[in-house]
Each structure stands twice: as structure tokens, then as C-alpha cells.
Assembly symmetry: C2
Homo-oligomer: 369 residues x 2
């Protein structure tokens, strides 16, 4: 017989999940409801309103996918991409790369616009690629979790001068920590996750689709293969028709609702500023320890901070000391940045001054060995 599971109380400062506030955990303990219960429907309605506020959108089709951020990415691409359609995918990190691979799986002929991992895109190049391509979809990762790079989603809108672009933005590591501004930035589809800037446990993917995106989806020659992530039939459950699709993960949605309420109580602007302030404090500390950030200041994420590992320092040994001696998780680099950077998440409740002070002290100690 197995023993009860009593994991250590980690301070989660990796790329996510981040720690969850007690209020959010408590929300999961509200009585479980069935997915066709009128009281649950009211929870869904509220959840949609809250998600619209945080995405900064009036999109009717805004809800949570019953899966993690990757399911959100798949929901956007599987529904929007049609067989043999050209899709311009901006790639300057692992998640841009994943979008390219996933779009190809769903039938796209992918036109990649690439930059080095951790370097900004040449937006003129994005524009040229879109001009030359025969498709409408352009995708960009807002917050590239693999590099700590913030990409300029606010510049995508100008592609509409060229043609009727459908803009797909990954906001997994930005939503709740950085302004995403779906409507303001003309974004047609975006997906996020529950466990980073939002501050809920992992398991859900908020998504939003503009009317333009839905028009494209409704005009598909064939429905997408996926049934679980088919946005049109999911919408029939989330909208007042309430056509049964799947059994909602109700407790996860309770948690997400509570986390979104906490965000709006704090205020979006205040929350973004807090993330910026604590990121700057962390960077100052890192630099005072004689280390450097990977990304240039003007492109840095506040939610995910990437530190160059100093020459001669044993990556795994430092991370292991942080984990074992301090119960602090930070992330390793991957892909071309494996062994070269640490990825430090300061997200949601963990974007706070005491966490920054503790982390810097623990990091100093771990570096000394």
C-alpha cells in the first residue's frame, strides 16, 4: 500500500506552474456541481466575463479549454488552419517552434520567419513574408517562455494594411502579468494557461476568438478533425444553448474564476506594474551578483526572467542546491539555450519583493556551493 503523498512545499520560480494563493485553493473546495446544473451555468457566465476583462476583449467566444496551455494552442491552430493553407509563423524560441510544428500537423504549409532564440524579430521581414504568402494566418508568441523574450504583438495589427490577416497570439506566459490587449492589438485568436500570470493551478487554457476568426472557422471546407477542441461545438456548450459536449472540470474552473477575481480586484494596471517592478528588482540583484540577463532590457519579460549562467558554474548543481536546500524551483534552459541560462518565473503571487530577496540570497548561497 502506498503512503499518503506529502510533497515538499516548493517555491515555484520556474517557467510555471507558479504557487497558488490559498483563496484560489479554497475555491476548489466549493461543492462540486454537474456540468448541466443551472448554478454551474452561472459560474460559466461569470468566468467568461472575467476572462474577457483579463484578455481585454469583447469577444463573445471567450472561455476555458479543458486542458493545459498546449491544448489551447491546438484549439487555435486546429480550428483556424485548413489543409494546405500557408501560415506565417514567427519563431524565435521553443514555443514559436512548437507553433510551427503544430500548424504543420494540422495541414499548414508553414512559412517561418525566424530570429535567434532570445533576439527580436525583424518586423519588416514578417511583413514581407506575409506579403508573399498566400494565406491569412500569422502567429506570434507574445512571451517566449524558452528565452524570456517579449515579442511585439502590438505591431502585428499593421499587417492588415497588406491583407485581411488573422492574428494568432500565444499569451501563455503573458496573460495576467503583461498587457495582452486582444481588441486593442487586433488579435483574432489567443490562448493562455491557468498556472502562470493568472495564478490558478495548471489544467485549463483560456482562449478567445474574434468574430473574424469565427467567420474563417465557419467557412471551413471540412470540420477540424479534433472533436475535443472543436471551437464551434464547444461554443454551443458555453453559449446559452448549453448543448452538452463534455463533463466540465468544475473544480478547476472554480479556481480559475477565483484567480481572475483576484486579478481584477488588484487591477490589471497595478498587476502589470507589480510584475515589472519585481522583475526590475530581480534584474538589479542579478547584476549586482555579477551576472547578466540573456535578453536586452527593452525586450525582457517581467514574468519570466532569463539569466546567463556564468562561465564555470555548474548549471544542474546550482539548480539542485536551490531545490534541495531551499525548496526553490527555477527552470533550466532548453534547446539551444540548454546549460546556458536559468529561467526564473516571477508570476502571479510569486511576483513579490520578499520572493525576490529570498531568491537572490538563496542563489548567492547556491553559487558559492
Amino acid at each position: 500500500m502506498l503512503k499518503p503523498f506529502h510533497p515538499p512545499q516548493r517555491i515555484l520560480l520556474g517557467p510555471g506552474p507558479s504557487n497558488v494563493e490559498p483563496r484560489v485553493l479554497q475555491a476548489m473546495l466549493a461543492p462540486l456541481l454537474g456540468h448541466m446544473d443551472p448554478v454551474y451555468f452561472s459560474c460559466m457566465d461569470q468566468l467568461q466575463e472575467l476572462l474577457r476583462a483579463v484578455f481585454e476583449t469583447s469577444n463573445r467566444v471567450t472561455f476555458s479549454i479543458s486542458g493545459t496551455g498546449g491544448a489551447g494552442m491546438e484549439a487555435c491552430l486546429a480550428n483556424l488552419v485548413e489543409e494546405d493553407e500557408e501560415v506565417v509563423v514567427c519563431v524565435n524560441g521553443f514555443f514559436g517552434q512548437r507553433m510551427a510544428e503544430m500548424a504543420a500537423r494540422w495541414g499548414a504549409r508553414v512559412v517561418r520567419v525566424e530570429a535567434e532564440w532570445g533576439s527580436p524579430f525583424d518586423m519588416q521581414q514578417v511583413r514581407e513574408a506575409f506579403k508573399k504568402s498566400s494565406g491569412r494566418i500569422v502567429t506570434m508568441v507574445h512571451a517566449e517562455t524558452s528565452t524570456g523574450m517579449r515579442n511585439p504583438i502590438e505591431e502585428l495589427k499593421s499587417l492588415r494594411d497588406v491583407r485581411d490577416a488573422i492574428l494568432v497570439v500565444d499569451s501563455v506566459t503573458s496573460l495576467g502579468a503583461h498587457p495582452v490587449g486582444v481588441d486593442r492589438n487586433g488579435i483574432d485568436a489567443s490562448y493562455a494557461c491557468s498556472q502562470k500570470g493568472i495564478g490558478a493551478p495548471p489544467g485549463l487554457a483560456p482562449v478567445t476568438f474574434s468574430e473574424r476568426a469565427l467567420e474563417k472557422i465557419r467557412a471551413r471546407r471540412k470540420p477540424p478533425r479534433t472533436w475535443y477542441l472543436d471551437v464551434q461545438i464547444l461554443d454551443k456548450y458555453w453559449n446559452p444553448e448549453r448543448v452538452y459536449h463534455h463533463t466540465a472540470p468544475a473544480l478547476m474552473n472554480y479556481a480559475l474564476r477565483e484567480a481572475l477575481m483576484i486579478i481584477l480586484e488588484e487591477g490589471l494596471e497595478n498587476r502589470w506594474q507589480r510584475h515589472e517592478r519585481n522583475s526590475r528588482a530581480f534584474v538589479a540583484g542579478v547584476e549586482s551578483l555579477g551576472m547578466e540577463m540573456l535578453v536586452a532590457p527593452e525586450h525582457r519579460l517581467w514574468s519570466l526572467n532569463t539569466v546567463r549562467i556564468p562561465p564555470g558554474v555548474d548549471d544542474a548543481a546550482v539548480r539542485n542546491r536551490l531545490l534541495v536546500q531551499h525548496n526553490i524551483e527555477i527552470g533550466s534552459g532548453f534547446g539551444v539555450l540548454k546549460g546556458k541560462i536559468w529561467r526564473v518565473g516571477l508570476m502571479g503571487t510569486n511576483s513579490n519583493e520578499n520572493i525576490v530577496l529570498l531568491l537572490l540570497a538563496a542563489l548567492r548561497s547556491a553559487l558559492e556551493g
Copy 2:
């Protein structure tokens, strides 16, 4: 500003979710771990062992999909079905129908073997259809949640006399309540859910794949379109390679682990007998109220009990009285059985004598109006 969400404490006797034991809810409050934390890996290993025990299998590839039961269905079909392959789908209810539709989405030429909703299959007809078909896959819903029918999955194995069949079984409403016996019954792929016989909250789909199923998947001409549900890359995260795929819904998996431990502490045989005993008690009560069951005794599910609505009784009014006056949820019929049956779940912790007594008393009162 929204108020805190305080839903009523329902007694969930519909088709699922069922109520969750406090021990399982408490398990969700264990400290959150990152998806690459070695302590979380140990939780995953234990979860796999527990799932193997409950599925009654030694299949290495046995884990939880980070989505609901429908994602489990999609994981099985999307990985196993290849373009233009004939697939024999047994349909005698809504979920058989859903398997047919989903298999078609994933490229199958579906050969349906049908029986009336609530009636048994002619297994000779299944055999003939398989003989005539050019494919290897045969699918059957073990516990048809739309009708309360238990289908004879133990008879599928004999199809191997005909050809090298790949047997896909939906155990969503049976696992944890009825014996599924994956290895004993020669099942090659099966998917379930967390929120019915298992007794965890909704949000996860246990799946298991035999070596034969994996051979077929490895021999695909093209990978399945779905990335989120690609079993081969999911396996790389669940097996000791631990290649990152998605951020695990850790708290949901803690809950599933605890619910599975409760099952094994009770013992599978004891648990099945308990579900049978309480179903029989409920049926006796229903009949003493002058009502009839939809399904013949030898084909009845214990987990999901379908009662014919007596002539002249207002379906919605009775269900509404149960919900509003007694906080009891039961399920309505759907499809061809809409307005004709009630679906009463006695699953997991809710399969108990007091629940049966209460439900019968409340039903009697609700019928009197």
C-alpha cells in the same frame, strides 16, 4: 465585483460527476509541484501503478490524459485510426454514436453495427461485420451512459479468431464500478474518466494501450494530427525519459492518485459488489414505486441506472423538484430517450445504502408533486 461562489451542496446522482470524498479533495491541497520535479515524477510513477491495478492490466503505457473522458476517447481514436481505414463501431447509444462520429473525423470509414438504444448487440452480427471489413479496429462502449446498458466486452476477444483485431473499449462509466479486465478481455486500448466510478473530480481521462496497439501506432504512415493527445510523445513524458510535453495538471493528478488508493484499499471485488448491491436495492425500490427499468436485468449497469418515466409524469418537473427541494441531481434522457427515462448514477462514494434510501424517498415525494 462578483461575490464569492457558494454553490449548493448537491447530491450528484446523474451520469457523473459523482460526489468526491473529503480525502480526495484534501489530496488536491498538497503543495503544488512543477511538472519536472523529481518528487512529481514519483507521483506519476505511483499513479501509473494504481491505474494499471484498476484497469487490471500490465500495459506499460497506462496514464492519465490531461483532459476529460472525451479527450480519452479522442486519444484512443486519433492515434489508432489511420486515413481511410475501416473501423467497426458498435452503436447502441449516444456514446457509441459519438465514437462513430469521432472515428470518422479521424479518417475512418466507419462500419456501424447497430442495436436499438438500450438493447443488446447481436454479437454474431459484430463478428460478420468484422469478417467483411478490411480493418483491424473494433470499438465498443462498455457502459453506455445514455441508456444504462452494459455491453459484452468480454466477448470481443473471440474476434481474434477472425483476424488480428485491435479492441478499443470505452470504460468511462464502468472503470471503478464494474470489472473492465483489460488484459483478461484482450482489450488493446481503453479510456475512462476521473469523475464516475473512480471518485475523483472531473478533468482527467485514464487511458491504457497494449503493446499490440502501440505497434499499430508506431507503424502509422503519418503521425496523428493531434499533438496534445499524441500517445507516443505523451509516453516520452510519462516514461523515464521525462521529455517535457505539457505542464501537468498536478492537483488533479494528486486527487486521482488518492481516489485510486481508496479503490484499492476497498478492493476491486468489494467495490464491484457494493455497486451491484446498491443498484439492486435501487431497482427494487423503483419497482416497488410501480416503475420499470429501461434495460433488461442481465444487461444492466450498476453505476448508471435508467428508469422509465411513467406515463403522464412530467420529466422536467420531477427533476426540478429533486434539484430544488432536495439538492439531488439526476440525469435526463437524451437522443431518442429524451423525456422517456431518468438516468440515476450510483457511483463511487454515492453507491451506498443511505443514498439509495434518500433518493427513493425524495423521488416518491417529487412524483407526488
